[in-house]
Symmetry: C2
C-alpha cells in the first residue's frame, strides 16, 4: 500500500501542470475512439486463431503466423516490415498421450493428461509404476530416494486461491511443473505426473515447459487435469491405487529456422530512439493461443494501425515485435537482443503484453526509480480507460533481455482472474477473448507507447 500513497503524492503535485495533459488526453481519446470503433485487432486475432491455430515453434503453423503477421503489419501501414531470423527448438508431441490409474480392484481410471513441453517420451510400451504424491517440493526432498526411487511422483500442488493476482500463485505453486521432473529424477523417480497449473477444476490438462537438470536422467512427465488430480489424491488417501500408467510419444527434434516479425513507424525527431511493443507469436500446440499470446501480438500490431490511421507521427521510432519461441526456449527474445547489440540500437522503452487479452487494470514497471516516476505522472490520463495502477514489477520474458541495453521495461497487467482457467489448455481459444476487453488493452498500450514517443524517458 505504501507504493500507492507515494503515487498519489505524485499525482497531486502533477495536477497543477495540466495543460499538456489536456492536449495529451485529446490525442489519447482520438486513438481510443478509433481502436474501439475501427480497430482490426479482434479480426486479426480471429485469423491467427481460426485460420492458423496452434503455433508451436518450428511448426508449419508458426511459419504461417510469421507470414500472416508480416502481412498484418503491412496492412496496418508500418513504414517497414521485416523478419529477424532465429533458430528455435522443435519439440513435437507425436501421437496423443494416454494414461490411467490402476486400482486395487484391478479397474482402470483413464486420465485427462498431456505431455509436458520439452519432455522426452516414454518407451513405446509406456511407463507403469507405483505413485507417490507430494504436496510441495519440500515434501519431495523430505521423502528422498527411499520413497521416490522407481516411482512416478505425483506433484499435487494447488494454485493458492487466496492470491488476488493469479500470476503470484502461478509463480509460487508452479515448481511441480517447472522443475518437478528434474527434482524427482534426482531421487531415482521414473516419471512425473503433475497437477495442471490451473485456477479452476475441470477435465482439461494444461501443458507448459519443464526444465531438466543435466546431472540427472530426463524422465517422462505429464500434466493431469485438476479434477483428475483431486480424484487421484483421494484414491491415494484411501490406499486404492496400485500403479499409474502413461504413454507419451513426444521428442525434441533438431533446431529449426524461424523468425521474429517486426514492423516500425519511424520517429520524426529521434528516429534512433526505439520504443518497442510486443507479444509472442508462438503458442502451445493444444489450442489456438488466443490469450497466450495471440492477444499481445495483435494488440501490438493495432498500435501501429491506430497511429497510422490517425496520422499521428511519433517523434521516436515505434517498433511492434512479434517474438518467436517464448513458450519453450525464449530464442526470439535472445535473437532480438543480439541484433540490437550488434546494430548498437538505442532502446529507450520496451512494453510487453503477455498476460492475456483481458480488461486492462494497470502496468507493471521494470526500470529506474526516476523513469518510473516520470511514467507514473501520466497515470491520470489512463483512468478514463480503466487503468488505475502503475507499480514496480516484472515486465515479460521476451523484453527482459533488452534490459541489458539499459532500456526501461513494462508489462501490461490485465485482469488476471480468468487467465489460468485456460492457460496452455485446449480452452485457450478465440471464443474466450472479449472484443472490447482486447481493444481496451490495445488502447492503454497505445496511450503509453505514444506518451513515451512524445516525451521520451
Amino acid at each position: 500500500m505504501k507504493k500507492v500513497y507515494f503515487l498519489f503524492a505524485a499525482v497531486l503535485l502533477f495536477s497543477s501542470s495540466s495543460l499538456a495533459q489536456n492536449q495529451d488526453s485529446i490525442t489519447i481519446k482520438k486513438i481510443a475512439d478509433d481502436i474501439l470503433t475501427n480497430g482490426t485487432v479482434f479480426e486479426n486475432l480471429r485469423y491467427l486463431c481460426k485460420k492458423i491455430g496452434p503455433r508451436l515453434s518450428g511448426s508449419a503453423n508458426a511459419q504461417k503466423a510469421v507470414l500472416a503477421t508480416a502481412r498484418m503489419l503491412k496492412e496496418a501501414g508500418a513504414d517497414t516490415v521485416y523478419m529477424q531470423p532465429c533458430m528455435v527448438p522443435q519439440w513435437v508431441r507425436g501421437a496423443k498421450e494416454t494414461g490411467f490409474i490402476k486400482l486395487a480392484d484391478n479397474s482402470k481410471f483413464n486420465l485427462h493428461l498431456c505431455a509436458i513441453g520439452n519432455t522426452v517420451g516414454t518407451a513405446a510400451a509406456g511407463l507403469s509404476a507405483p505413485v507417490v504424491e507430494v504436496k510441495s517440493m519440500a515434501e519431495l526432498h523430505q521423502l528422498g530416494a527411499a520413497a521416490i526411487k522407481d516411482k512416478i511422483v505425483f506433484f499435487n500442488i494447488e494454485m493458492n486461491p487466496t492470491y488476488i493476482n493469479t500470476f503470484q500463485a502461478y509463480g509460487e505453486d508452479g515448481a511441480g511443473r517447472f522443475m518437478g521432473p528434474a527434482e524427482a529424477a534426482r531421487y531415482g523417480a521414473v516419471g512425473a505426473m503433475v497437477r495442471s497449473l490451473a485456477s479452476n477444476v475441470n477435465d482439461y490438462p494444461h501443458t507448459g515447459v519443464t526444465r531438466y537438470n543435466d546431472s540427472f536422467p530426463k524422465i517422462p512427465a505429464v500434466c493431469i487435469s485438476t479434477r483428475d488430480a483431486n480424484w487421484l489424491s483421494e484414491q491415494l488417501k484411501l490406499k486404492k491405487v496400485t500403479t499409474a500408467y502413461f504413454k507419451t510419444d513426444c521428442k525434441m527434434l533438431a533446431d529449426a529456422p524461424s523468425f521474429n516479425v517486426i514492423g516500425e513507424i519511424w520517429g520524426t525527431e529521434f528516429p534512433g530512439e526505439i520504443i518497442s511493443v510486443g507479444g509472442h507469436l508462438d503458442s502451445w500446440d493444444l489450442a489456438e493461443g488466443a490469450n497466450d499470446d495471440g492477444s499481445g501480438v495483435t494488440q501490438s500490431i493495432e498500435i501501429i494501425r491506430a497511429l497510422k490511421a490517425n496520422d499521428i507521427k511519433p517523434k521516436r521510432t515505434i517498433r511492434a515485435v512479434m517474438f518467436m519461441n517464448e513458450e519453450n526456449g525464449g530464442r526470439g527474445g535472445e535473437a532480438y537482443l543480439q541484433n540490437a547489440l550488434q546494430k548498437n540500437e538505442h532502446h529507450i522503452f520496451a512494453l510487453e503484453s503477455d498476460e492475456g487479452g483481458f480488461s486492462p487494470r494497470g502496468f507493471s514497471l521494470e526500470m529506474t526509480a526516476e523513469k518510473e516516476q516520470k511514467i507514473k505522472q501520466w497515470l491520470p490520463l489512463f483512468y478514463n480507460y480503466g487503468v488505475y495502477f502503475m507499480e514496480t514489477g516484472g515486465s515479460g520474458s521476451d523484453v527482459e533481455p533488452v534490459l541489458k541495453t539499459g532500456a526501461a521495461l513494462a508489462g501490461l497487467s490485465p485482469d488476471s482472474q480468468r487467465y489460468f482457467d485456460i492457460h496452455h489448455a485446449a480452452t485457450d481459444v478465440f471464443e474466450n477473448v472479449s472484443e472490447r476487453e482486447l481493444k481496451l488493452g490495445a488502447v492503454n498500450m497505445a496511450a503509453l507507447i505514444w506518451l513515451v514517443s512524445e516525451y521520451g524517458l
Copy 2:
C-alpha cells in the same frame, strides 16, 4: 478526473490513522480468504442456472428460485429467513416468435428476433408492413406521421463503442427499446423492430422491457439481432426491402403472487440499524439469468455465509435481499420499501449488485457528501482486492426506493466490457461467469458491508 483528485486528497489525510485500518484489513483478509477458498457462491449460482433456469416473474421457475434461495440462506447460517409477499406482473412469451424481411426479388430473409418484454402480441396471422429505419429518437420525431403511419419502425441505434463504461451507452442509446414502440405509436406505426442493445455483433436477439404510453395504441414490438440489424440497414440503403413481417404470441396475464426472499444476521449492538445487500431473483426467459442477476443474488447470500462461517458478529443487522420482479415491474423493490415504512425500519445502507458477476472494479455511491466521504476513506482497504474507485453515481433500481427512508445507497461496479454481449440474451448462462471473478465481487461486497456494520455511517 476532478473526483479522483478529491479522493486522493482524502486518502492522504487518512493515511495517518492507520491502526484501525490494520485491524480492519486483517478481518477483511479473513473474509476474502474464506470466500476464495470455501465460498459456495459459484455452486449456488450453478443451481439457480442449471437446476432452475429462467426465472421470469410469475413463472413456476421464479417460485422455485424463491424456495431455493430461502434454503441457501438457511444453509448460509442466517439468523432468520423469511419471504416478503408481493404481487407481480406475469408476462408470457407464448409460442416462439418468427419473422422475416421480404425483399424486392420476393425472397425472404429470416430474422433472429424475440418479443420485447411486456409487449402485446401480434394478430394470429402476424404483422406485415413496410419498414422505416431511424437512427435516433430525434429522427423519428422529424419524420413524423407522414413517414411513420402504418409502418414498422426499425430503431437501429447502435451502442456507442467509445464509451468505456458500457452502461453509459446502454442508457444513452437504449431509447429505441425503452420507449421506441410508444413513440412510434404516437405517429401511427403498427409495429416496432428494435436493434438489440448489444455491444457485439452476432445472431442473438436481446430482450428487455419497453414502456407503453397509455395515450397511444400498444403496438407489437421485437428486438432483432445486431447482425440482422446491420444487414437490414444495408438492404434498406440498397432499396431492396419490400416489407417486414413478424408474429409474436406474447401477452400480459393477471398479476400473480410472489415474494422477495430475505435472510438476516442480527446486529449485536445496534440491531435496529439495517444494512441490506441484494440482487434480483427474477430473470428474463431466454436464458439462465447468470449474470443478470443470479450473480448478485448468490453474492448476497455469500456475505451471510462468510460472516457466519468466520464467526464475525456484525454490530448492525445485515440483511441479504433477493428482490423479485426487477426486470419487468420493480414490484419487489417497491414492496420492500412499503414494508420498511410500515415497520418503521431504520435502513442506514443498501448495496446492490446487478451489473454482472465480472471482476469488481469499484463502487458507485448514492448518498450525502458527508457519508460518501466516510466511505471513501476506506478505499485503500480495497486495493488488494482489485477495487480502485468509489465515485458518485447511481446504485441500482431495487434499492433505489429505499432512498426515501434516508438510507445511503451503493452499487457494485464490476468490469462492464462483457455485460452487454450477453445481457437479456440466450447467452446469459452459467458458462459465461468466472468463478474467481464472481467470488472477488462477493469479497469486495462483504468488505464494504462489514465496514458499514462496524462503523455505521
